[in-house]
C-alpha cells in the first residue's frame, strides 16, 4: 500500500489476481469476481433479510430497501412511462449492482470491479442488446425509421443514416466509458494523494506537518467519491431508462 521505492504506483490497484487459493487459480476466479459475488450477496441480503420484518413502520434496513426500490420504481415510471414497469427488475438489478460495486470499492483493500472497462462494457452491452431487441420486437421494421428522422430530405439519407447508426452504436461505448473513467479517475486520485501522505511524512521533522495537507485532501476526496459512486450508478440507470424510452416509443 505504501510508496515503495519513492515512486507513485497508482495503477497496480486495478490489477487482477486470482482469489480463493488454488481452486480460484485453476478456474481464473479473480478478486473482481469475488467482489461481484459480494455485491450480489449484499443486494440479496438487503432485499430478503432487510425486508424480513415487513413492518408498517419500517426499521432501518427495511427503510433502506424500500427507498431503493421506490427510487428506481419512480425513475422507471417517470422516464419510460407506465409500460416501462416490466423493465423495472432489470433496471433495479443494474442500478443496485453498479451502486454496490462502486461503494464496495471505496473500502480499504477492496477491489472496484466497476473500474474495469470489460465489466462496464459488459453491462452496457446487455443494455444495448435489450434496447435493440425491445425496439425490434415492438416496432418491427419501423425500427429502421429510428435512423432516419421523418421529414428530412431524402437526398440527405446517405449522410444522416450512417451518422445515426454510429450515434446509436456509440451508446454502449459512452455508457461504459463514463462509469469506468469516473471510477478509475477517483481511485487513482485517492492513491496518488495517499502516496503523497506517505512520502511527505518521511521528510524529516517538518514532514508529518506537511503531510496533513494531502491527508485532508484525501478525506475530502473520499466523501466526494461516495457522491460519485452514487451519481454514476444513477446516471447508468437513468440513461438505461432513457434508452428504453426511446426503444418503447421510438419517437
Amino acid at each position: 500500500m505504501a510508496a515503495e521505492g519513492k515512486a507513485i504506483d497508482a495503477l497496480s490497484q486495478f490489477q487482477l489476481a486470482t482469489s480463493l487459493g488454488p481452486i480460484g487459480a485453476s478456474v481464473n476466479f479473480t478478486q473482481s469476481n469475488l467482489y461481484m459475488i459480494f455485491a450480489a450477496a449484499i443486494i440479496l441480503g438487503l432485499m430478503t433479510w432487510g425486508m424480513r420484518a415487513r413492518a408498517v413502520v419500517p426499521g432501518r434496513w427495511q427503510s433502506l430497501a424500500e427507498s431503493a426500490y421506490e427510487f428506481i420504481h419512480r425513475m422507471v415510471t417517470d422516464q419510460v412511462g407506465e409500460e416501462g414497469k416490466r423493465f423495472f427488475p432489470f433496471v433495479f438489478t443494474l442500478f443496485m449492482f453498479v451502486l454496490v460495486g462502486n461503494m464496495l470499492g471505496l473500502f480499504p483493500y477492496a477491489f472496484t470491479f466497476t473500474s474495469h472497462i470489460a465489466v462496464t462494457f459488459g453491462l452496457a452491452a446487455i443494455v444495448f442488446v435489450l434496447i435493440t431487441v425491445v425496439a425490434w420486437s415492438l416496432h418491427g421494421k419501423k425500427f429502421f425509421g429510428y435512423f432516419f428522422p421523418e421529414g428530412a430530405p431524402l437526398w440527405l439519407a446517405p449522410i444522416i443514416v450512417p451518422v445515426e447508426i454510429v450515434s446509436y452504436l456509440s451508446r454502449p461505448v459512452s455508457l461504459s466509458i463514463r462509469l469506468f473513467a469516473n471510477m478509475v479517475a477517483g481511485h487513482v486520485m485517492l492513491k496518488v494523494f495517499a502516496t503523497f501522505v506517505v512520502m511527505l511524512a518521511g521528510l524529516g521533522a517538518v514532514g508529518p506537518f506537511i503531510a496533513v495537507m494531502p491527508l485532508a485532501i484525501n478525506v475530502a476526496l473520499v466523501g466526494f467519491e461516495v457522491l460519485v459512486a452514487f451519481l454514476q450508478a444513477y446516471v447508468f440507470a437513468i440513461l438505461t431508462c432513457i434508452y428504453l424510452h426511446d426503444a418503447v416509443h421510438l419517437h
Partner: protein, 96 residues
C-alpha cells in the same frame, strides 16, 4: 384563473427558460460544469471510437483501406457532435 392573453403560458415559458421550473419531460442529469463537460467529452470520444473501429473493420472486409476509414472517421465526428447536441437538446419534446 386563466388569463386571456396567455399569461400563464408566457410565465411558464419564462420560468422554464431561466431554469426555475424543471422541465417536464427532459431527464435532467445531475452534475456541475465538470460533469457536463466530461459527459460531452465522453460522447464525442465514444462516437469517434465507434466510427473509426467500424471504418477499419469495413476496410479490412472490403479491402478498401484507407477510404472507408477516412469516411467513417468523419461520420464518427459528426455523430459525436450529434450526441453532444442531443445531450443539450433532448429529442423527445413531448411525453408519450
Amino acid at each position: 384563473m386563466v388569463q386571456p392573453d396567455g399569461f400563464d403560458k408566457r410565465l411558464r415559458d419564462a420560468r422554464a427558460k431561466h431554469g426555475l421550473d424543471k422541465g417536464e419531460g427532459d431527464a435532467k442529469l445531475p452534475g456541475g460544469a465538470w460533469g457536463v463537460g466530461f459527459r460531452a467529452g465522453v460522447e464525442v470520444f465514444s462516437a469517434l471510437v465507434v466510427g473509426v473501429v467500424l471504418g477499419l473493420l469495413l476496410d479490412r472486409w472490403l479491402g478498401t483501406w484507407p477510404w472507408l476509414f477516412l469516411l467513417m472517421f468523419v461520420m464518427g465526428s459528426a455523430a459525436g457532435i450529434l450526441n453532444v447536441y442531443r445531450l443539450f437538446n433532448p429529442r423527445r419534446v413531448k411525453r408519450d
